[in-house]
Amino acid sequence: MSPTEKKAVPLEFEQPLALLAQQIEALEKQLAENQSPDLDLDLARLHEQYDVLKRSLYSNLRAIDHLALARHPQRPYTRDYFQRWDAQWIEVHGDRKGADDAAMVCGLINFGEVRAVVLGTQKGRTLRDKQHCNFGMPQPEGYRKALRLFHHAQKFSLPIVTLIDTPGAYPGMTAEEHNQAEAIAVNLLELAGLTVPVIAVVTGEGGSGGALAIGVANRILMLEHSVYSVISPEGCASILWRSADKVSEACQAMKMTAREILSLGVADEVIEEPLGGAHHDYDAAARNVQAVLVRHIKELSRLSPAQLKAHRQGKFRKIGSFVEG
């Protein structure tokens, strides 16, 4: 069942809105039992208040609120997008070397008018799913599965679309034994060398090297409430503030929201979400993202293979901030 069919679970910062919604509901109930022009007026005012509050709330979110939305348990995940983009999309599996990492979903897709190799991290919805997907944290095998798809796209001259929604690469013992660092590094290197269009979309959490490993793209797009950071805010807080309570401060200090990443020149575009977050309307969210994706793929397809590679390398070559002399 899609979470859009049930009520969205309110986050902490959404409590005032939820309270107002409860009042409205109560009033509506009252009104249903007992007609009264006064109540009618109250209700209209409440509705108005609600709309104003909602707009103001979502246009004045703190970094930690965006984080909460990006991690919303009902947020659409990679498979939700793929399914909506192409109900016939073909999933492909495995690194061919012993593992099929469920945290990395890969496939071939038709966006109606554009074909692409698609892949992305997958968090899993139910507890069982979550465990199966390792809560969206890929292991080296997942990155190598993605690498296989990069090469597939290169061979068949297909654009690559990646969806990023991961707390990061999995910090596990076997992951280290199987050279997590190398798996990520090789992906960075190989992505840099591709001569097909690569577009990365941060749909939820963009966590560190584990996100970047599928993020070296010609275009980096971010959903309105998605975040992208060098380390998890929790990790940052515990290292720099030596306190788990300072997550909000860490979020703010790292400038990790979509708008901030855009103004830092790393993201190329912010994709609007349905009001209140993508989880309120999966179909609309998927349509938004698709429209933007297709536009970018078309734009990039005007570049030659050599230009595509040079464009991607040039994009990252410029990122950084320092003083010379």
Partner: protein
């Protein structure tokens, strides 16, 4: 209608009939009914064939021969065989309990084929493709010089015509009776696939029950997309050899298609009844993109065209 019903109705039918039918002979009985190896259900052979030799009850995929496979995949009257007259020599003068040539004749008599693979071109839902279909029923689907040569030639043909290539494998491995020549077919076929891949063309490898040894260790594992049939057992070394080596029992599902999927070795497990559709979809998807490859790796115009 299952057997129980059939028997239950028998008396009634007998009574209905003016001329009482004779009970079936064993042979007629066997031709009419097939017992599922897996669920033991007795299946009406004609129904089984209609269902592509997949048990309708438990989805067990019966082994099928090259001819049946082609019937299942090809658009009517589109299959064009090539190299149908290539036959084995006996380069080593190999004799064990019988000379190799006699074993070959026997194999042909049983399978009705000249060799363990049939190659050619066909259309699948309108899409032209080059194909190689192995037949386990001929000499255990073993790869000697002829299988190696036919696989190589169909790869070369596909490259020349820029066609997608589909090989359905089913093989016990390399054919011992041609010694080192059989081993070298692994290199020959893989080498041909290297050129094919460099040309940016699509190779879909389909693994059918069973695929082992030299065939998996060469072309069968080199598909851009690898599809396995449900329950098909696929591996390099055989189960018995491994159990003898490691001196422990292997899990029941070891080397099954589903196990391979879990271990990242195949892209998908596809029921035979869906195989044709998936192949069509894959060819259509990659079709035009294949014009790229090493020569020109830009996004082909086609990648932007409507499905």
């Amino acid at each position: 209608m299952d057997l129980k019903e059939w028997f239950a109705n028998r008396q009634k039918r007998r009574e209905d009939a003016i001329e009482v039918r004779q009970p079936l002979t064993t042979e007629e009985y066997c031709a009419l009914w097939t017992q599922c190896f897996q669920c033991r259900e007795l299946l009406y052979t004609r129904d089984l064939r209609t269902n592509l030799h997949v048990c309708p009850k438990c989805q067990y995929h019966f082994r099928i021969g090259a001819v049946q496979r082609i019937e299942q995949l090809a658009d009517a009257d589109t299959f064009c065989e090539i190299d149908e007259n290539l036959t084995s020599a006996d380069p080593l003068g190999f004799v064990d309990s019988e000379p190799y040539p006699r074993r070959q004749q026997e194999a042909s008599r049983k399978s009705g084929l000249k060799e363990a693979i049939v190659t050619g071109t066909l259309k699948i839902d309108g899409h032209e493709a080059a194909v190689g279909i192995m037949d386990f029923g001929h000499f255990g689907g073993s790869m000697g010089s002829v299988v190696g040569e036919k696989v190589t030639r169909v790869i070369e043909l596909a490259e020349r015509l820029r066609l997608p290539l589909i090989i359905v494998s089913s093989s016990g491995g390399a054919r011992m009776q041609e010694g080192i020549y059989s081993l070298m077919q692994l290199a020959k076929t893989s080498s041909a696939l290297k050129s094919f891949a460099d040309a940016g063309l699509l190779f879909i490898s389909v693994l059918a029950e069973p695929t082992y040894g030299g065939v998996t260790a060469s072309f069968a594992m080199l598909g851009d997309i690898i599809i396995a049939e449900p329950g098909a057992r696929v591996g390099f070394a055989g189960r018995r050899v491994i159990e003898q080596t490691i001196r422990q029992k292997l899990p029941a599902d070891f080397q099954t298609a589903e196990y391979l999927l879990k271990h990242g070795q195949v892209d998908m497990v596809v029921e035979r009844t869906r195989l044709r559709d998936i192949l069509t979809q894959l060819i259509a998807f990659h079709g035009a993109a294949g014009s790229g490859g090493e020569l020109s790796s830009s996004v082909s115009e086609e990648a932007l065209s409507t499905r």
